[in-house]
Symmetry: C2
Subunit: 341 residues, 2 copies
């Protein structure tokens, strides 16, 4: 327990005090909400005729982050964003969220205040609203979990299971930076604050799932399969292929890697291409497109100013290969994030 | 990490293996469910015209339970039941759930299997369905969280805020056993297996929120306010009174304490009355009833074979008192569960 901590501790504010604070700061009411934070449950009216998406994601201290390096604002923001990423990847808009927190007793209340600030930022950015949650103490660090609802914005959801041989494989934004940002954060102050690594750190702490692009893809029925890149392209593409009963070929030279990401990789002694292929927590959209729709995807992406890159092709053979610039084809060894190894 | 553990470890099964297992055992599909476990999110059709309840509750190792004494089946069952308790206390029926788990790497896979078994039991008992979740590793013990949706079964929800001076204060079932069961579990084998404590241990591990009674109360508009008893009668009644802007008087002699609970209290050297007043995790329904509806409540409870006890009266004065058998009136000192003290 820190001695000279900022302001009161959680032991002084108490559970009811934390709930009162969150209610005052996330005072969602009106519209479809009948009851927000403060009763046994939240209560709302669903959108008539719309299907509901339901997801949850948790972040665990010592696994997903360290309190030594994550600003609580970023933890709050990211926790919401990673859930939004799942809703977007199905073709939905986020609506209502619940927050579960387990916090060490010795923590300062300022942590909750700052986490709530980041969460409010995410609420505005993604159009969601916190309706309640649960707060308890923890004997093993901070655990934070958000459950998020959304409404499907298309006739059919974007699932993982529709990819067909010959489809183009696309990814939004750029890859590789997040895992390098994580590395910089773990290496400490001398790294994370250098200009070469600042962008990577930002990408790690403030992921921005391509919500509006995902809605375009879903509404216009542009993708045969889609999912978000959370555990790394190689792992997640493997999951998409498995669900679709297909394989894939990735052109490594086509992976979207920013010049800044190459510099960041150099700064921590890593290979940017490997980071792009295997790095997790990108929260970009991975999707497959029938050949006859590829031009339309590229045209719409230009119009919406979204970067999309064609990184490979779906194969009938149930294996994943990489093809290098020189044309060398190799079996891809999956090396993304695996929690229990 | 245990050496002679039962079957494979989580490190051998992996995250995808855990998800595959849960999907095979909680294979919810059909009906209102469009997509269950295995994609980015779950997807379902809400009941047309019905409002939706949304709640979450988490259980943390070292705070809510110890792996030394909780059978994983009971953890899975209880985690669902405590969420059902919140939905019931609003006048709703549980529908769909998500499970978030953070598990130590060294854990045996059998833990997941047994937790899932208890959860399936709760699914059948309460009519809910697991649709998905998130699984990660943990550096600080087991952390388990369920988010649960429900549909409101009445025109108006049972909230905490409608209690009026003169209303009778009622509670379902009996009080005091759960906290004594917890004490027995913490004291160890010599205690928890004695006949005097078995019932209390059962009440702690397998709470049974009065779902069908709560629906009767909501549909027939019998209560002015209601909530579940999760942190102890004194704390929760305090919350209900605060939300309603009233006070209360509790007749300690009227608290429903089973003879078995008195024996359990003796066996661990506690006072049964204190346990009934302050003990948490009862998951009974606390509700207030207008005088002109009290007879109807008692008649319906008899018909539905639910034990309800009138334990006190709502007061205009914003304080909570206890009145002993001899008529002595004392200010109640709240002493339930507070997480951060």
């Amino acid at each position: 327990m820190k001695k000279n901590r900022r302001g009161p501790g959680l032991d002084e504010v108490g559970e009811d005090g934390i709930i009162r604070y969150l209610r005052s700061r996330h005072a969602a009411s009106g519209g479809r909400i009948s009851l927000g934070i403060g009763d046994d449950t939240a209560l709302f009216n669903p959108h008539p005729g719309k299907k509901i998406l339901f997801t949850t994601d948790l972040m665990v201290e010592g696994v997903h982050f360290s309190r030594a390096w994550i600003p609580p604002e970023d933890l709050g923001y990211k926790l919401a964003a990673v859930n939004v990423s799942d809703i977007a990847a199905m073709g939905g808009k986020p609506t209502f969220a619940l927050l579960s927190l387990a916090l060490p007793r010795g923590l300062e209340f300022d942590f909750v205040r700052r986490l709530s600030r980041g969460l409010r930022r995410a609420e505005r950015t993604f159009g969601l609203q916190l309706l309640g949650g649960d707060t308890t103490s923890s004997k093993g660090g901070v655990f934070a979990c958000i459950s998020l609802l959304g409404t499907l914005q298309a006739r059919r959801p974007l699932t993982r299971s529709g990819a067909c041989p010959g489809d183009g494989i696309y990814v939004t934004g750029h890859l590789g930076a997040s895992v390098l940002g994580l590395e910089a954060l773990e290496l400490g102050k001398g790294y994370r604050d250098t200009p070469a690594l600042r962008g990577a750190v930002r990408k790690h702490l403030r992921p921005s799932p391509p919500l509006s692009w995902a809605l375009t893809v879903a509404r216009r029925n542009l993708a045969t399969a889609a999912m978000d890149v959370s555990d790394g392209l190689s792992v997640d593409l493997g999951r998409l292929c498995k669900a679709s009963g297909v394989g894939a070929e990735i052109e490594t030279a086509a992976l979207p890697v920013l010049p800044g990401t190459r510099k960041a990789a150099e700064a921590v002694g890593r290979d940017a291409g490997e980071a792009a292929l295997h790095g997790g927590e990108e929260y970009e959209l991975l999707f497959t497109v029938r050949p006859r729709k590829e031009l339309e995807v590229q045209r719409l992406a230009r119009r919406e100013r979204v970067r999309v890159s064609r990184v490979g092709t779906v194969l009938r053979q149930k294996k994943i290969f990489t093809v290098s610039r020189g044309g060398r084809r190799e079996s891809l060894v999956t090396r993304g994030w695996e929690h229990f190894q």
